[in-house]
Structure formats: structure tokens, C-alpha cells
């Protein structure tokens, strides 16, 4: 079966776009083939800085032939019908039709239309230019003379040449005949820019890869990564050092070279005074080099690994020396930042935060720090932290944003703050909280455990969430520019991991008032003011606050659901708990969901749920029939007049509900479930022996009221109507 080889050679493709582009190319081409009925055995795409390549194996040489029989008029039909048939079937005369005899219908004409399958080559020549012209680069450009024409080809950087061949292994493959914006597909490509500048003729994938390899191009990015990683480890090992591995950097450098040559450089050990993270940040971000450490130790070694794209004639001496110079200059800068930063205390940097806008509608960083400090103080007792330390940590938490080091390497925020705070003799918990208050950053990030860190981390995230809710900048669909989902998940994980008890609603409402005081434009209040200028009373403001706050609480509920579902909890149980009023203590919500889940796994639980469903069904039907609800408490004396099972249920309900309610108050959810489980037997007996729709209207009404009391009793622990099954 024939194969397709496609290569799109261009000027240097940004490293971060290569993998995605290769995958897009594979998908676009194979999808277009499949859409036209061309199946293939396998497809793989590749990217280097200077080319995208695609190999589609096992394509048919041509598409399936199509044979169609079209029934025509009977023999001897009027001329109009015959002409219409000839025209629609594409026949010149009736001689080209066959005559078929059918016992019922007699003789009639049939046209046999045969359409040969299209040649794959033609189809490729049609598909490929269209895909190239509309390729989904994240950013693309025009270039050269052609760029003056409307509709000029756009590519990520100038596209230089196209190789496109199609054919079986055993023969010389065909060139896929097409051109895009003056670039004619051919069989010529080029290898490494410096190491093998000569043209290469390629025929098919099987000779393309080795030809490139000879021309010092490793086509497969994963192989380049592998080479880099192994060579880097070996070089490090040979010097008695250990590579600090870095997947993101590895992926990037593999996208910057076609022929990786790994070299090692060193720097003056005096630079090791600079915090290791800062050394790593500068060497990584600016030089795209790896750092090394002493085996088994945290501290860095005064050396780095660089990945060049050249087998240099001097063995890489000049390249290493050049890189060492730049690393030296960078580290001098970092050292300068570190020394300069140390000269000003974090405390003394605070006024500067007043001139930094956090968000145009949410005021300055300074204002934000005030709010976070107040909230951290308020939350401190709830998480077992010292309020003074929590407030202090919150005040200093953002001060490192105006240090030179963080200005240069934003990813060091928090960490540098911690270092400076430690040097300044701040309490260790305060220093730790400055770093950890950003945590947890994602679902897999560590949750801080120091109570001071927890208090500040909660305060920081809650302030962010309330702020953006107040100005109506909530996440929508895939858009969450302020990472608010992450912030909410952070709050959830902090609360659950720390088993912190806090009611979110009053905190949110209180914060909302503070945030609204600084918001430059308050969307909600502005709206109210516009429509009814006289009505912007405190009452209205309060109502708006409550509405927005409830909305934010619902967002928490939503994120908690996602979080618990990932942990394997049933989402219907979470709904059943959140359906109860006032559920804003996340820890209690989770405890209740857990207890409910366990209860429903027992026979008692399952039967009670079944009994509940039966009762709810009857009630629904009867209430609808009667056009009223049965919410009055059942009358014990009436129950006493009825069946014994009715009396038993009445008694059991009263005590179970009371017991459940007391247990819930004690936050003993398992106990509450236990109390409800005592209802199983009386409920079962009731349904077995008692006819709800009694002749006596008073008895009937009381029995319905009993069922309602069962519904009410279960609501002590959850809204059973939300539970599935």
C-alpha cells in the first residue's frame, strides 16, 4: 500500500508551537482523507525548528469504484420520460441502457453507472494546499513580495519549500502535484542549516529519515529529548554532579535544535550566595540551560548544561566560553538584584504597593493588602493561627512584588519574599506564609500546613474571589483569566485538609462590603442607581450584596462538586446536601456527604430511601389530586385510632426526627443517619399493612401527613429527592 510523505520546511518555528502543529497537521490531513473515504493504516507527524513532516502509511492508490444501477421507464414509454431518464443517467442513447424483465412490471430500462474511484494522488493534490492555506497556527504572518497581494499565504514564519510524494515502497513514488502561493511541491529539502547545507533529494519516508539523519537532523522531537537528557545526565555524572531535571525546559530546548550537542559550562562558585531558585530561574529563562547540583544535596553546583545546535570545529570550546560569559553577566545581574533587595526591608516597600494597580476596578495592591491582612486576622482563630502573626504575614505577603528579583523573575514571587523576611528576622511562620500563601496553585500542588500560612492563603484567595465577583468578572466557559476556579479549589482544599470550620456566607458578605467600598465602578450598584436613582438605599445595597454573595457560594458548591466527584463521591449526594438551607460550612457539607454515602450503602439506608421515594410519590399524586399540600403535623391521637403500624410509625417518626436533629446539631452525621435507620422497619410495615387512601377522610389526611413527616424527617440530613436510584 502506498505512503504519503509531506514536509513543510520553513524558517525557525517557535519551540512552543512545534508539537501542537505536528499534531494538527496529522489530524487535518487524515481527517480530510477519511472524510473522502480514504482509510489509512497509520500516520505520524514530526516537528523540528525548521520543518513539519507527516508520514501517512497504507493508503489505497485510488478510492473505491462506485457502481450504481438506476431504474428507468418501461420499454415503449413516452419519449419525454425516456429523454428525462437518459439525461439524468448521463446516457447518450437507449443503446447504452440494458433492458430488464420483471414478471409484474414487464420490460423496463436500467442504466448502469460506473464511477471509478478517484486517484489518491489527485485527492491529495486537492487536500494538501487547502490545509496549508488554512493551517491553525496560533500566530501567523505574511512575508516577501507576495505579501502585498490580498489573500497571501500565511505561515508561522516564511515557508521555504514543500516535499510531497505518494507511492508504494517498491517503486519511485509520484510527486503530489500542487503549489501554494508560488511554492511548488517537489522532492528537494535541506538538512542542518550549518552542518549540511546541501540539497537533499528524498523519495519516501523510509529514505527521508535516514537522509535527514545524515544531514544532521533528528526528525523526532522525542528522540532529540532523549539524546539531550541522556547526554546531559552522562556529562553531569562524569563530573560527579547531578542534573536538575526540568521537563518544560527539555521540551523547549528540543524545539530549538535539529542536532542536539550537549556541552557543560561553569561559573564562579561565589555566585552560589544567590538563592538557588534565582540562579536556576535566570539560567533557565534567559539562557535555556540546565543547572546541576551536588549529588543528593539541595545546593547547586557552579556549573550548567547547555544544548547547542552545532558540532563545532573546536569541539565546542568557543560555544561554551560564550555561554559562560552570558551566564556570568546574568548572574552578576542576579547578584546585584539580591544585594540591592536586601538593602530595603519588606516593611519599607509597602508604600510602593499603593501605586500599583491590582485591577482597574479593584484598586491598588496596597488596598488589597489591607483587606487581606484584616481578613487573615479574622480567620486566624478559626484555623488555629496567631492573629498577630497572620496579619503581619499578610501585610508583607505582596511586598516582594516590588523587589528587583521578582520584577525580573515573576515566578520567584513569594519565595523571594520568604528569603528576605527570614533575613530580616521575621517569625518563621510569617516568612513561610509569605511564600505559601499562593498555595495550593493547582489540584496537585501541596496544601500548606502552618496555620499562619493557611490563614493568609485563605484570605488571599477569598479576597480575590469576592473582588472579581463584585465587579462581575466571573469565569465563563473555558475563559478564566484570573484563575478563579483555581482560587476556589484552593479554598476548598485548604478548608478540607486543615479541617477548618468556617461559615463562608458571612465572610463573603462582609468582604463584599469592603470590596465595594474601593471598587471604582460597581456594576451592580451602578445598575441600580441608573434605573432607580432614589432607591440606592442601604437596603438595596445589602440585597445586591446578598445576591452576589449567594452566587459566589453557589460557585463554591459547584467547585466542591467537581472536587468530590474527582475523589469518587456521588454528585447527587452533594446536591442532596447542598439543597438544604444554609450549607456554607464546606467541611460539614463533606462530612454529611460522606455519612450519607455510607448510610445508603447499608440495607437500612437503601430501604429507607425506597420508602422515602414511595412516600414522596404518593404524596405527589395525592397532593396534585387534592390541590393542596399535607404539611400539617400528623395528629398522634388520630394515628392511635388507626392501624397499629400507623401508630408505630407516628411514634417512630417523632423520636427519630428528634434524634436526627439532635445528632446533626452535634455534627454527628453518622448518628443522624443511625437515627433515621430506625424508621426502616416501621416504614416498611406501614406500607405493607396500611392503606393510605382510607375511606375516612380524617384518617386519610392524617396518613398523608405521616408520609410528609417522613419526608420532613429525612430532610434533617439531606434532601432525599435529589438522590438517584
Amino acid at each position: 500500500m502506498p505512503d504519503l510523505l509531506l514536509e513543510l520546511r520553513s524558517e525557525e518555528i517557535p519551540a512552543r508551537m512545534q508539537r501542537r502543529a505536528a499534531e494538527d497537521l496529522r489530524k487535518l490531513v487524515t481527517d480530510a482523507l477519511v472524510e473522502r473515504g480514504f482509510l489509512y493504516e497509520g500516520a505520524k507527524a514530526f516537528a523540528t525548528p525548521r520543518r513539519l513532516a507527516l508520514h501517512v502509511a497504507g493508503l489505497p492508490a485510488r478510492g473505491q469504484d462506485v457502481r450504481e444501477e438506476r431504474k428507468g421507464p418501461r420499454v415503449g414509454a413516452p419519449d419525454g420520460a425516456v429523454q428525462g431518464f437518459l439525461k439524468s443517467a448521463g446516457l447518450a442513447s437507449l443503446d447504452q441502457a440494458t433492458i430488464v424483465t420483471d414478471p409484474k412490471k414487464g420490460e423496463f430500462y436500467v442504466a448502469v453507472i460506473e464511477r471509478p474511484g478517484r486517484s489518491t494522488l489527485d485527492v491529495l493534490a486537492e487536500i494538501l494546499p487547502a490545509i496549508i492555506k488554512s493551517f491553525p497556527w496560533p500566530k501567523s504572518m505574511r512575508w516577501g513580495k507576495a505579501s502585498a497581494q490580498p489573500g497571501a499565504l500565511r505561515w508561522v514564519r516564511p515557508l521555504q519549500s514543500i516535499v510531497a510524494t505518494f507511492g508504494p515502497e517498491t517503486e519511485t513514488p509520484d510527486l503530489v502535484p500542487f503549489a501554494v502561493d508560488g511554492i511548488v511541491a517537489g522532492t528537494t529539502t535541506y538538512g542542518h542549516r550549518f552542518l549540511a547545507p546541501e540539497a537533499i533529494e528524498v523519495r519516501r519516508f523510509d529514505d527521508y529519515v535516514p537522509a535527514l539523519e545524515r544531514a544532521k537532523v533528528v526528525l523526532d522531537a522525542d528522540r532529540r529529548k532523549d539524546i539531550i537528557l541522556h547526554d546531559a545526565r552522562d556529562l553531569a555524572f562524569a563530573r560527579g554532579l547531578e542534573l536538575v531535571e526540568d521537563d518544560g525546559l527539555l521540551e523547549e530546548v528540543a524545539g530549538l535544535v535539529e542536532w542536539p550537542v550537549v556541552l557543560m559550562g561553569s561559573f564562579d562558585a561565589a555566585f552560589l550566595d544567590i538563592p538557588a531558585e534565582a540562579i536556576r530561574a535566570t539560567i533557565r529563562a534567559n539562557q535555556k540551560c540546565f543547572v546541576l547540583r551536588e549529588p543528593g544535596a539541595e545546593c547547586l553546583a557552579p556549573a550548567f548544561v547547555l544544548v547547542s545546535n552545532l558540532i563545532a570545529s573546536d569541539g565546542g570550546l568557543a560555544i561554551t566560553a560564550g555561554n559562560e560569559r552570558v551566564v556570568r553577566a546574568r548572574l552578576s545581574d542576579a547578584k546585584f538584584f539580591w544585594e540591592t533587595d536586601k538593602a530595603i526591608k519588606l516593611q519599607d516597600r509597602l508604600p510602593k504597593l499603593d501605586s500599583i494597580v491590582f485591577h482597574e476596578k479593584l484598586g491598588t495592591q496596597g488596598e488589597r493588602v489591607q483587606r487581606i491582612a484584616a481578613l487573615a486576622r479574622e480567620l486566624a482563630p478559626l484555623v488555629g493561627a496567631d492573629p498577630d502573626l497572620a496579619e503581619r504575614a499578610a501585610r508583607l505577603a505582596k511586598a516582594d512584588l516590588v523587589t528587583e528579583m521578582v520584577g525580573e523573575f515573576p515566578e520567584l514571587q513569594g519565595l523571594m519574599g520568604r528569603k528576605y523576611a527570614t533575613l530580616e528576622g521575621e517569625h518563621p511562620s510569617v516568612a513561610a506564609a509569605i511564600e505559601e500563601h499562593y498555595k495550593p496553585v493547582g489540584p496537585s500542588d501541596r496544601v500548606p500546613t502552618d496555620p499562619v500560612s493557611v490563614a493568609v492563603a485563605l484570605a488571599d484567595k477569598l479576597d480575590t474571589l469576592v473582588g472579581f465577583w463584585a465587579i462581575d468578572e466571573k469565569p465563563t466557559g473555558s475563559k478564566d483569566p484570573y484563575a478563579l476556579r483555581r482560587a476556589a479549589l484552593g479554598v476548598i482544599r485548604l478548608i478540607l485538609d486543615e479541617e477548618a470550620r468556617l461559615r463562608l456566607m458571612p465572610i463573603i458578605v462582609g468582604r463584599m462590603a469592603l470590596v465595594q467600598a474601593v471598587t471604582k465602578v460597581d456594576g451592580h450598584d451602578a445598575e441600580v442607581a441608573e434605573t432607580s436613582p432614589g432607591l440606592q438605599s442601604d437596603k438595596v445595597k445589602q440585597d445586591v450584596r446578598k445576591g452576589v454573595s449567594s452566587d459566589l457560594l453557589a460557585f463554591f458548591a459547584d467547585r466542591l462538586k467537581v472536587y468530590l466527584r474527582d475523589q469518587g463521591a456521588r454528585h447527587d449526594l452533594i446536591d442532596a446536601v447542598f439543597a438544604l438551607p444554609g450549607q456554607d460550612d464546606l467541611l460539614m457539607v463533606v462530612r454529611r456527604v460522606e455519612a450519607l454515602g455510607k448510610f445508603l450503602e447499608t440495607d437500612d439506608g437503601r430501604n429507607l430511601l425506597a420508602g422515602y421515594k414511595r412516600a414522596a410519590n404518593i404524596l405527589r399524586i395525592e397532593e396534585k389530586k387534592d390541590g393542596r399540600s399535607y404539611e400539617a403535623a400528623p395528629d398522634a391521637s388520630l394515628a392511635a385510632r388507626g392501624e397499629p403500624e400507623e401508630r408505630a410509625l407516628s411514634d417512630a417518626l417523632a423520636s427519630a426526627r428528634q434524634a436526627a436533629s439532635t445528632a446533626v446539631e452535634r455534627e454527628d452525621f453518622a448518628g443522624a443517619m443511625q437515627a433515621l435507620s430506625s424508621l426502616r422497619a416501621p416504614v416498611d410495615a406501614f406500607f405493607e399493612k396500611v392503606t393510605v387512601n382510607a375511606e375516612d377522610p380524617a384518617l386519610r389526611e392524617n396518613r398523608l401527613a405521616l408520609l410528609n413527616a417522613l419526608r420532613a424527617a429525612t430532610r434533617e440530613v439531606a434532601d432525599f429527592s435529589r438522590i438517584e436510584g
Binding site: K139, W143, R157, F194, N309, S313, R325, V357
Partner: protein
């Protein structure tokens, strides 16, 4: 008689400049002189900003002294200067082999491509004040950025049609590299040795100290605020005064108006260095300059140079 001077790019700063000029002159570029106004980068020279607009082919190369008031370090930092030189090349439309030409220019100034690791690393260029952007790379030599390479896509808010290729060489850095010098002030400027040797420090160290003082401490902000407003006003006035009376006429004063845009931009940079522009105001100043640049670009497109009929 003075002692012999060596004008090889490896031995003198001016040798580097002369070599680049000769190289690009051989490619058919007009070799211009620096624009006679203070600018933040070679791109501001009308030979780039204005000439990048419109359909007419254009090839030019020139040195442009560039002023970045905020980068002043009182002459104490070996790498940072508030005044430095850029070597600027603009080719419109970009030739298909612009990368090869660039590499040949490195070879010409003594960067042996068999010995040094040259890389094109993604770096998309954007100038918010000029309303301009392009795609390209920073060009690395052994891990050091030595040039910017950009395919202009838009300038002054207008699509470039055709696209121009722009190369910007950071001359001091490149010279430090080829001379093997760690401190910019140690660069050999004139290629002479002994008593006749003139270093970069001899020429510029005092200026760096004085201008750092000026930029950060002394620049008269009242005057500068006034100058900004004046330049902005003048730019508008000249644009109005030169505006064509009908569709068929040309604009008559695009370049003098653009001078005022350059002026406003530099004054803004000075005010920024003095720290008297708040974060929020900053954005609005940038927008004001951009509006001027856009208006000047529109005017240029109505001139002969801009390709107007």
C-alpha cells in the same frame, strides 16, 4: 604620524560599524546617517517607520544612537547604557534569503559559523507607541542575543504591504563579543593601541554619568510635561496644515508632523524615567503617542514616498 589603526571588526568598535555598512551597501541598501533627533530605537527613524508603509520597495541601513533614559546606570553597570548604538537594516519587501544574508553579515564581522552556535529564538516584536508589530526572532550567538530579526506585519496601525524585514544589531554587545571584552567601557573604539587607543569609556563614560543624573534626578519635569503637550499639538497642527484638500491631492507635511511624534515619545520616556507618571497614566501617554504615530502613518500613505498616486 599616528600609529597604525586596525579597522577589523574584532579590534575596533568603528571597524564593526564600517564592516556592517559595507556589507549592506553591497546588498543595495542606501547607507543613511542617524536621524537627528532623540529616539528610543532605530525603528523610530523615518527611514524605517514611514518607509515600511506603502508599496514602494526600500532598502536602507544606518546606525542609530538610541536613548533609553531608564536604562542609565551612572556608568557603573558593564552592560547597561542609557545611550547606545543600534545598527538598523530595513529591506522592503524582505528578500527570500534574508536569513542567509543576516548570517553572511555575521560572517563578515568575524563570527565564524563553524565555531559559534547561532540560533533563531522566537521573539515577537511589538511597539505599543508606534502601533507596530511583527513576528521574528532574537538571534543568539552562543547564548547571547546579538540581533533582533523581524518581519513587520503592521506599522502605525496599517498592514505592511508588502512586508519589510528588519534587522537590528545591538552594536555594543556584538562588539563586546567579537572583541572578547567583559565591560562595555573597555571596548576599543578606534582600533589604535597604546597612547592612541580610544575606548568606549573615553568617549561615553562621562556622558553616561551625566545623563543618568539628568534622567533620574534633574530633568525638568514641568518643562517636559509642557513639551509633551506642545509636541502633541504641533503634530496635529502640521498634519492639519499639510492635509490634502481633495482625494486626488497628496499630504504635504507628513514628515515634520512625524518629528513631533518622535519628540513626544522621547519626552514621555524621560518623564517615565523621572518616575512622575503613574501606572494608569502611563497607558494613556502611550496611547496618545500611538494616536500621533497612526495619524502620521496615514498622512505618509498620502505622499509620494508612501506610494500615493
Amino acid at each position: 604620524m599616528s600609529s597604525a589603526v586596525d579597522l577589523a571588526p574584532k579590534t575596533s568598535f568603528q571597524g564593526l560599524i564600517l564592516t556592517l555598512q559595507r556589507f549592506w551597501a553591497a546588498q543595495g541598501c542606501v547607507i543613511l546617517q542617524p536621524y537627528d533627533m532623540e529616539v528610543g530605537a532605530g525603528t523610530f527613524h523615518p527611514a524605517t517607520t514611514l518607509r515600511a508603509l506603502g508599496p514602494k520597495p526600500w532598502k536602507a541601513a544606518y546606525v542609530q544612537p538610541s536613548r533609553r533614559p531608564k536604562d542609565g546606570r551612572y556608568g557603573e553597570n558593564p552592560n547597561r547604557l542609557q545611550h547606545y548604538y543600534q545598527f538598523q537594516v530595513i529591506l522592503k519587501p524582505n528578500p527570500p534569503n534574508l536569513q542567509e544574508l543576516y548570517l553572511a553579515s555575521l560572517d563578515a564581522i568575524g563570527v565564524d559559523l563553524k565555531l559559534h552556535d547561532i540560533r533563531f529564538v522566537e521573539d515577537d516584536w511589538e511597539s505599543p507607541t508606534l502601533g507596530a508589530w511583527g513576528l521574528g526572532w532574537e538571534c543568539w550567538c552562543d547564548g547571547m542575543e546579538v540581533s533582533q530579526f523581524t518581519y513587520f506585519q503592521q506599522v502605525a496601525g496599517f498592514e505592511c504591504s508588502p512586508v519589510a524585514g528588519e534587522l537590528t544589531y545591538g552594536l555594543e554587545r556584538l562588539a563586546m563579543y567579537v572583541q572578547g571584552v567583559e565591560n562595555v567601557y573597555d571596548l576599543n573604539f578606534n582600533g589604535a593601541e597604546g597612547d592612541d587607543k580610544v575606548t568606549y569609556g573615553d568617549v561615553f563614560l562621562q556622558a553616561e554619568q551625566e545623563y543618568s543624573r539628568h534622567n533620574f534626578e534633574a530633568a525638568d519635569t514641568t518643562m517636559l510635561f509642557r513639551q509633551f503637550t506642545d509636541a502633541e499639538k504641533a503634530c496635529r497642527t502640521y498634519l492639519d496644515a499639510g492635509a490634502p484638500a481633495s482625494e486626488t491631492e497628496r499630504h504635504k507635511m507628513a514628515q515634520p508632523a512625524y518629528d513631533q511624534c518622535i519628540k513626544a515619545s522621547h519626552v514621555f520616556n524621560l518623564l517615565d524615567a523621572r518616575g512622575v507618571i503613574s501606572v494608569t497614566e502611563r497607558q494613556s501617554y502611550i496611547l496618545r503617542v500611538r494616536e500621533l504615530a497612526k495619524a502620521c502613518g496615514a498622512a505618509w500613505l498620502k505622499t509620494a514616498g508612501g506610494g500615493a498616486a
